[in-house]
């Protein structure tokens, strides 16, 4: 049913339709509304049977999910940013143990400086953990992806992380077509664990594996993710068949047929980019967009197919590897090896910096004229940076840059919703 609803609530409602049996909750913005709403449903008895566990940390949240999943329950949790990093060890562990946990990641920057707003640094930090990472463009897709995520996770026995932009999506109220229970039940069969802690059939899960087999274990995990590259489109297709809605999949192209420049991005910024692209198209520039839904496994072949005909690829991403550059851009470049495509990296929207249509239009204007450098920080306040650089030059140590920059900006107080 199409409903005007907050993104977080839409996720909670959808997760509930997936009948999770154990949900672990630990508050961190901007994920909190999701878990609160699930908690209400459990408390009311609308979601039953379900154990809703208020844990003492994200590390515990993922750990509880690990235990629950290993004991045969469908387990769900949600987190963001510092929370994801705090549970990092358990995130890797869940994947290593092959436990099909589904987690919502309300993408948020990572401190210091502490910052509660959106970017993709958190997701990028765990990209090598063995989790499948799916990025949602809208709240509708975010909701739909959760249903697909449980299906995918349990089919392959791999945990899945649904990434949705914090605040931008989680706190946005917009129309979402909520699924109905019968559809979800038909689409998502009950969880049949691949391994289970059962007194009648005991096994030891989580052995220590030495050099003689560790590489093989990792290789097999890789093969499973490659398997996911085949399953994700099928699962999305079946979802389309059931709902008539295109959600999920690996990559999505928009107006790229004849494009000279293709912008690649992930998440909600794709909407703003599409608006900007339409406007640039109106100005006669041949520009298109490719959105990556499946970041892990990375669909190199599909990306290559989607981009290879464009001379220039602009990768716009909300994260970067300090001292190197774009993370997504690196993967795209790898996928495009030998095609001759020129890849430009644009880092934008860090720590919640708004990515405006106007800024994008300017960016695309320049791109169309071949004026982009290899790495660009969109809307970087050059003046502030220069002042800080000058200060740093004057004295080798000048205190934390963040404080200095804030002083330059005249901001005396940061309104923050801390953890």
């Amino acid at each position: 049913m199409l409903t005007q609803i907050e993104g977080s609530r839409a996720i909670a409602e959808t997760v509930a339709l997936c009948r999770p049996e154990v949900v672990c909750a630990y508050p961190i913005s901007p994920q909190t509304h999701i878990i609160e709403a699930v908690g209400v449903m459990v408390k009311e008895g609308r979601l039953a049977p379900c154990e809703f566990i208020n844990v003492e940390s994200e590390f515990a949240a993922m750990s509880v999910a690990i235990g629950a999943s290993a004991a045969g329950a469908r387990a769900y949790t949600a987190t963001a940013s510092q929370g994801l990093l705090y549970m990092m060890e358990a995130v890797y562990n869940a994947a290593g143990l092959g436990l099909p946990i589904v987690m919502t990641l309300a993408n948020r920057a990572i401190g210091a400086p502490i910052n509660i707003w959106n970017d993709h640094s958190d997701a990028m930090a765990v990209r090598d953990s063995g989790w499948i990472q799916l990025f949602a463009e809208t709240n509708q897709e975010a909701a739909d992806l959760h249903v697909q995520a449980f299906r995918l996770a349990e089919e392959l026995s791999v945990p899945v992380m649904v990434c949705m932009d914090g605040f931008i999506l989680t706190h946005a109220v917009e129309g979402v077509d909520l699924l109905d229970q019968s559809m979800v039940d038909a689409y998502l069969p009950p969880y049949e664990p691949r391994q289970i802690l059962d007194p009648d059939n005991p096994v030891s899960i989580g052995a220590m594996v030495g050099p003689e087999a560790f590489q093989e274990v990792r290789y097999l995990a890789h093969l499973r993710q490659l398997d996911a590259l085949h399953r994700i489109p099928v699962i999305a297709e079946e979802f389309f068949a059931a709902t008539g809605r295109h959600s999920g999949g690996l990559v999505h192209s928009y107006r790229t047929e004849d494009a000279d420049t293709i912008v690649v991005a992930m998440g909600s910024v794709l909407g703003t980019i599409k608006d900007a692209v339409d406007i640039r198209r109106d100005s006669g520039e041949r520009i298109g967009v490719v959105g990556i839904t499946s970041f892990r496994p990375f669909p190199s072949l599909q990306v290559r197919e989607a981009l290879r005909h464009a001379p220039q690829v602009v990768v716009l991403e909300k994260a970067f590897s300090i001292g190197h550059g774009g993370v997504l851009a690196t993967d795209i470049s790898m996928a495009l090896q030998g095609t001759g495509c020129v890849v430009r990296e644009v880092v934008a929207g860090l720590g919640g910096r708004p990515i405006t249509r106007l800024s994008l239009e300017k960016l695309f204007y320049k791109a169309a004229r071949g004026e982009l450098g290899e790495l660009l920080f969109l809307d970087l306040d050059v003046e502030v940076v220069d002042r800080e650089l000058a200060r740093m030059k004057a004295g080798r140590r000048s205190g934390p840059s963040a404080e200095n920059v804030l002083r330059d900006l005249g901001t005396t107080r940061v309104e923050g919703q801390g953890r």
Binding site: E21, V22, C24, P49, C50, E51, I53, N54, V55, E56, S57, F59, A60, A61, M62, S63, V64, A65, I66, G67, A68, S69, A70, A71, G72, A73, A75, E89, A90, N93, L97, L197, D198, P199, N201, P202, V203, S204, I205, G206, A207, M208, V209, G210, E212, A213
Partner: protein, 346 residues
């Protein structure tokens, strides 16, 4: 006391079994058909107290649950020596996740079992002192505070033995470890530090907290059984000497555990809902020196440059325990005949 002392039967109350006893008066360990939750072929050191403690506790839990048991294990010696691919020593369903999260993983298992309607299956979470009092402390406290239906068993060997004997929050004062070497004016671990986890556990007002050693099997098993009679969070702290880390002879493991109790250094008691309900009285009071001298980690207190004042300090700790828990039948019970009164100040 939970343990029922057996009316005289030669070795009724102390030995593992006794051909003269009724089956129900014998320990689980005396049963030739015991679970052997942890099986032969594990790679624990010779004389490992932890391997022994784990079998004692889990076999007792298996009996108490009619075999409906799942175990979660923190990283550590026990985990490493029991499950090196491709061999596992566990005969019960067993899950290892991480060093610091065993209590939380157990919470998850317990929740899953409840939601699946399998509340007959009980959950034990276990780890060494490092994973319990240090790295996993947050998760443990959380599990306690939520009163999750988990029995957590800490096998306390007073240090990080898996990594080569480093200090933990459970390492006793003066003990030498790789990170508290026996050098300088205050050799070994510092005084005035460390965590008394059983008492911290009691502060959570959970249904059941108990301590035990591998030296008193009847007591340990009775406590496991008692623990299993409660729902909710339970904590059992078992002292398991480590021949490697303590520098003791491999055959001394049980003897040393016994002395830990008989000196008063390791009080053995149980508590329900935050209140101590019984203590295991000292049977043959022993000066701490006898306990310390069996262990190389305390060797710097004796020998060529003895440190009697440090030994005295340790004796004072034992005395305080004796007083705090009332470990003697009468306040002025004499030390065993080999004790010298000068060494024990009341």
């Amino acid at each position: 006391m939970t343990k029922r002392p057996i009316r005289f039967y030669q070795v009724g109350s102390f030995a593992v079994g006794n051909r003269l006893l009724r089956d129900d008066e014998r320990t689980v360990q005396s049963d030739p058909h015991r679970s052997n939750s942890i099986d032969s072929g594990h790679r624990a050191c010779q004389g490992c107290g932890e391997a022994l403690g784990a079998r004692y506790a889990l076999d007792a839990a298996m009996r108490a649950t009619q075999g409906q048991l799942v175990a979660v294990n923190a990283t550590g010696c026990l985990e490493v020596f029991s499950t090196p691919y491709p061999e596992t020593s566990w005969r019960i369903p067993w899950l290892h996740s991480l060093f610091g999260n065993a209590p939380a993983v157990a919470t998850g298992v317990s929740a899953a079992l409840r939601v699946k309607g399998r509340s007959d299956v009980r959950v034990v979470s276990q780890g060494g002192d490092g994973s319990t009092v240090d790295i996993g402390f947050g998760c443990l406290s959380g599990m306690f505070e939520r009163n999750d239906d988990v029995l957590y068993i800490c096998y306390d060997n007073e240090g990080y033995m898996n990594t080569g004997v480093q200090r933990s929050g459970a390492t006793p004062p003066a003990a030498r470890t790789a990170t508290t070497d026996a050098v300088g004016p205050q050799p070994g671990n510092a005084f005035g530090q460390g965590k008394d986890l059983p008492r911290i556990a009691m502060a959570h007002d959970i249904p059941y907290v108990a301590t035990a050693t591998v030296a008193d099997l009847h007591d340990l098993e009775a406590k496991v059984e008692r623990a299993m009679s409660f729902r909710g969070a339970r904590y059992l702290h078992v002292l398991v000497p480590c021949p490697l880390g303590w520098g003791s002879a491999s055959n001394e493991t049980i003897h040393i555990a016994r002395l830990a109790k008989e000196t008063g250094l390791f009080p053995v008691f149980e508590a329900e809902y935050g209140t101590v309900t019984s203590v295991s009285k000292i049977r043959r009071r022993t000066p701490v020196e006898e306990y310390l001298k069996l262990q190389k980690r305390f060797a710097h207190l004796f020998g060529k440059n003895p440190r009697p004042e440090i030994v005295t300090h340790l004796q004072e700790i034992a005395n305080r325990n004796i007083e705090r828990y009332g470990l003697l039948d009468t306040a002025d019970a004499p030390l065993a005949r080999h004790a010298t009164t000068a060494e024990v100040r009341s």
